[in-house]
Symmetry: C2
Subunit: 182 residues, 2 copies
């Protein structure tokens, strides 16, 4: 337990790296916006709806790691532009289910990559070991940061539509499950 104390500088390095990553991510989102008319957050939400079918706001917000309010504003834009429709659930009128329209489904066909092109290329060339190191580090950081804030998670009782809501592990998977409700 000797050299265990990171100096101030080490934290600063972490901070700087994080800020650069955040900035690059944001820049990429703006770039995607110019190319395809949708930002990365919008696409992420759209993909979540594609994957989950008729889905509640809360489920989306958990799935994409955004607050409910944020998801609402994103859904507003998506609905305005005709990529999704929202319908109140008949069983529980508090609930709003969002689904893709044809237009929304179509726009997803040509989805540009959600990560920076250059990053993806370089990342692919890295060799499995290195990639694993990076991914696990990112997840570790995410995890360490999240745990402070963990627990927006009341005992779920999947009543309305939900199947199960696993927070981690494979978030996006291309399976399909039609989960229609009357």
């Amino acid at each position: 337990m000797a050299t265990n104390k990171p100096r101030r500088k080490e934290f600063l390095d972490v901070l700087v790296a994080l800020r650069q990553i955040i900035r690059a991510t944001d820049l990429h989102s703006k770039h995607v916006m110019k190319v395809c008319g949708l930002t990365v957050p919008q696409l992420v939400v759209l993909l979540a709806i594609e994957e989950l079918g008729a889905v509640t706001v809360r489920e989306i917000s958990r799935h994409v790691s955004l607050s409910q309010a944020t998801v609402t504003t994103i859904l507003n834009r998506l609905e305005e532009r005709g990529f999704i429709i929202r319908t109140r659930n008949a069983n529980d009128k508090r609930v709003v289910n969002s689904r893709l329209t044809d237009k929304g489904r179509e726009v997803l066909i040509n989805t540009p990559p959600l990560l920076d092109d250059h990053f993806m290329q370089s990342y692919e060339m890295l060799g499995q070991h290195e990639r694993g190191k990076i991914l696990s580090s990112l997840q570790k950081v995410a995890c360490l940061m999240a745990s402070d804030d963990v627990d927006p998670r009341p005992p779920t009782m999947g009543r309305i539509i939900t199947a199960d809501d696993e927070p981690s592990e494979q978030l996006y998977e291309y399976g399909h499950q039609s989960n229609e409700d009357a």
Copy 2:
């Protein structure tokens, strides 16, 4: 062999981790705001000014990895609240130099940590090897992402304000200095 091609899922994992990190960072910033009245970006800018002395907007923006426009809006808020003052440079009236006020210097004394408490604690307990892995991974990611957006700026060659940019004590005179640059 040659499982070298990361599957779509691997990129998604990266994306998800990144989004969680970004979110956590933002949450922490909001938290800091509630505690000390300044957001993390505001503090970062303030710290940059503390470090660099009377400094231009462009220099700040490079130092903190934010666009000039963003720095300007942050400076607006900081000036409004009396933490800094901006003065136009006499030599070149396009240039604006920002410096701390006493109030600004004072508020920095009790700066809360710019990284999440819980994260810092856990990070400290990690052992040097693990920490190194994480830091280098973050830097790698930052680097891979940044290169797309290559810095349109060669290393600062101090034109207006003196040259050597030692990150330590400020010995900046914004007087003149014109020759140089043989």
